[in-house]
Symmetry: C2
């Protein structure tokens, strides 16, 4: 896994949160939606089925850990979990907290207007809360 590198667009639009079992957990920098992105630390992945079964299990548990933490922090109405990859081909999994009054409900969040970055203060607070929750679940 030494040749793993993060896609430049993913890197530019998110900040580091925590290393999970197989994935890097990052906070997507859009204050409209509490949104984690999980990136498996292995080079050359595009599809979930590029993972072997043991790696898929690890990614599945990383997703569950991220989802539990996001739900605990946000008390969201619904979680959205998705591996799309139409725009960024490197395998990454979105874990998003949804609310019935959010900016895209009930549609998916992708392609709904421009990203609204957090303020430095708000971003720092969200990162701290999520890191604490990831450590507790």
């Amino acid at each position: 896994m030494s040749d793993f590198t993060l896609d430049p667009l993913l890197a530019a639009e998110s900040v580091p949160l925590a290393p999970l079992a197989l994935c890097e957990a990052r906070l997507f920098d859009d204050s409209r939606f509490p949104w984690l992105v999980l990136v498996p630390r292995k080079a050359g992945l595009v599809e979930l089925i590029d993972l072997d079964p043991r790696e898929r299990m690890a990614v599945t548990e990383d997703i569950a850990q991220a989802a539990e933490a996001l739900k605990a922090v946000t008390q969201c109405y619904k979680l959205n979990v998705a591996a799309l990859g139409n725009q960024v081909r490197q395998l990454h999994i979105h874990v998003i907290a949804r609310f019935q009054n959010d900016a895209a409900w009930p549609q998916p969040v992708w392609g709904k207007g421009a990203r609204v970055p957090y303020s430095d203060t708000a971003r720092g607070e969200m990162v701290a809360k999520l890191q604490a929750a990831l450590g507790l679940v």
Copy 2:
């Protein structure tokens, strides 16, 4: 699991394909996108994290089986895998074959115009191909 029932909207918009380890695999009846929907056969599920770890593993392998079959049948450019549930709350997982010239690319497929049901002939052919592929992978 005897009290499992399929959401009426899911039932109306898709047709049965195959029982997998934990999920019912169905073909979503939209000829614009080759699209499977997996529904875990357990009552009361909303989120992936409502599954216990053993069930999550089974669902993960059902997703992989569906994805391999869909890729084999369609030779798609990308797979989209998602558990959203903003409109139908019963837990279900979308596995969708995407192409760079499809009706929504590179956006997600949800909310892009009206569903275009298959003709009876085309639907039957797609079901037969997918059932064969699901049996082979």
